[in-house]
Symmetry: C2
Subunit: 332 residues, 2 copies
């Protein structure tokens, strides 16, 4: 006996094998030991998940197109990772993927658990800012990392995610991604993604990190016309063509698992050259707001721990760990 | 009509007013509108809470002695604080006060909430070490702090608690308390208290801190004969006399509220002189274990942010943020 959940998976598998050709309802019913009404109910389930399935009174059923949805059935069979995303929590709509991942963390979910949603209704950005999450256009992903990191260095994990995304943008999509310190991803002067890191720790080490990333993928210029703090863009706008979110998500998770393993075993300094190469602010004159303080200076380089060295007008230098770049010379 | 909880409080208040003299059961019953059996049930409740109440067939009831327990009824009427401990959660026995405070934090408990227990059955020290919590001999307290602190500087709050305790030990009890960096409180070479800080944060600021403190108060040498990592002592051992835990707790909470307000409004540097004055390691040759690394050198001073400056044999200096002092020259 198949459970209902695995029955629709088996039907989907048979439809996919036919590559768009019809499969008769009788064949499906015979193979799965179901009535034709049972098959019909499962087809209805698949349609409600977003699969475009055509039915024909004589020919049966055929899969017209795969939905570009981040469904477990579309992600997990393709995903070649050892630990990242193996526990995959999918939501057509959710309040905030980070909130859900924090709750999973408290409930004991394993290292590498991923929460992925087609839409967030109360997505949060850094410093409790709102993050716009349009349905089925972006990727809204939070991952749970249980590797203990010294509290002082936990922010390095944010850079690792940002670098993984930049490398995927450059390598797979030919887009000049860059990091706006500390947690935004730009293409040119426009923001294409943002990262929100949350954690629980004792005074020495993190217990867990939840890192959320939002990526604008198939948004049009009209979708992004809202009153944003910075001009926004998407992969589709930059490439002039829609992008399969499924492929982007899988590629990103695989890249990130590899990068994070390297970071955790060999340390952050391994990524220092990448950070400097892909920084969107080095060499520029910037304004950083950190709490009530405002700091201005030239972004010179990063320390091996990842702090930003700011060169002041009087020639002195300062290492900045926390802050928010509000202006980059001539750009915003 | 009085609720049962407030009825025993009213009886206790009447007994206390008599300062050890008898109050007749008839008087209590008349005042509170209860039967004499109702009074008897409430007396039984008070006894089960630790109050020593004598009964006499003709005279009635008298309060022989106040228990040295950290009951809300013994703490809250005396406690002169604005926010610290105003929400006070008391347990005769609990697994871990920090775990309970973390759960309260998640449930939205207010800034300054305190969790206090007579005994912990699975008390935790730093780096997941066990912390021995003997029943009714020590103070096992966790407090919830909701003031946002930069993640990099959150450890400063641990110092503030340590300094408050050291000042109470010195000021009220005449004991030469000192801080063994970063989170132990010593009297001479022996440990009298330890602090465990836990927090939830985003990459910039803490959402909340839970700081737990364990203090050995009325332990005898026999109580502390266990196989500890460091030699242990208690206030009673050092003074040669038991100490009222109630008074110690109230004095500590009042001192801490004042110190924490100063810290939060004026910054950590206000406490730098205190930290150096009451440090048990400055000027000494120490070994610090931090993760897999072992660092040796002379503890020279603290930075204004509270990092320890270690002077190496080759004359170079290093700022240490995280670690565990495993040896102090000639002491352990």
């Amino acid at each position: 006996m198949s459970s209902p959940a695995s029955t629709h998976r088996l039907i989907l598998k048979m439809l996919k094998e036919k590559q768009g050709a019809y499969v008769s309802g009788a064949l499906l019913a015979g193979r799965l030991g179901l009535t034709r009404t049972g098959i019909w109910k499962n087809i209805r389930t698949l349609r409600s998940m977003g699969y475009d399935i055509q039915s024909h009174p004589k020919e049966g059923y055929r899969l017209v197109s795969l939905p570009d949805l981040l469904l477990p059935d579309e992600i997990l069979p393709e995903l070649k990772t050892a630990w990242l995303g193996r526990s995959y929590h999918y939501f057509p709509q959710i309040g905030s993927t980070n909130d859900h991942a924090l709750a999973l963390a408290a409930a004991g979910a394993p290292h590498g658990s991923a929460v992925c949603a087609e839409e967030q209704t109360s997505g949060r950005g850094r410093l409790r800012r709102e993050w716009i999450s349009s349905p089925r256009l972006g990727i809204y992903l939070s991952i749970l990392l249980r590797t203990p990191l010294p509290v002082q260095e936990a922010f390095q994990a944010t850079y690792i995610l940002a670098l993984s995304l930049v490398k995927v943008l450059r390598g797979k999509y030919g887009l000049p991604g860059a990091i706006k310190w500390p947690n935004d991803i730009l293409i040119g002067p426009r923001k294409v993604g943002g990262i929100l890191t949350e954690m629980q720790s004792d005074q020495d080490f993190t217990r867990f990190l939840v890192i959320g990333i939002g990526i604008n993928v198939n948004h049009t210029k009209e979708d992004l016309a809202g009153p944003f703090r910075y001009p926004a863009t998407s992969l589709a706008i930059e490439r002039g063509d829609p992008v399969a979110r499924r492929e982007l998500l899988i590629t990103f998770l695989e890249r990130l698992e590899s990068d994070y393993d390297t970071f955790y075993s060999r340390g952050f300094s391994t990524f220092l050259a990448d950070l400097e190469q892909f920084s969107g602010i080095l060499g520029k004159y910037i304004t950083i707001v950190s709490g009530k303080e405002e700091k201005r200076g030239k972004a010179l380089r990063f320390t091996p721990e990842g702090a930003l060295i700011l060169g002041r007008d009087d020639g002195t230098e300062e290492a900045v760990w926390v802050g928010d770049v509000t202006r980059v010379e001539g750009t915003f």
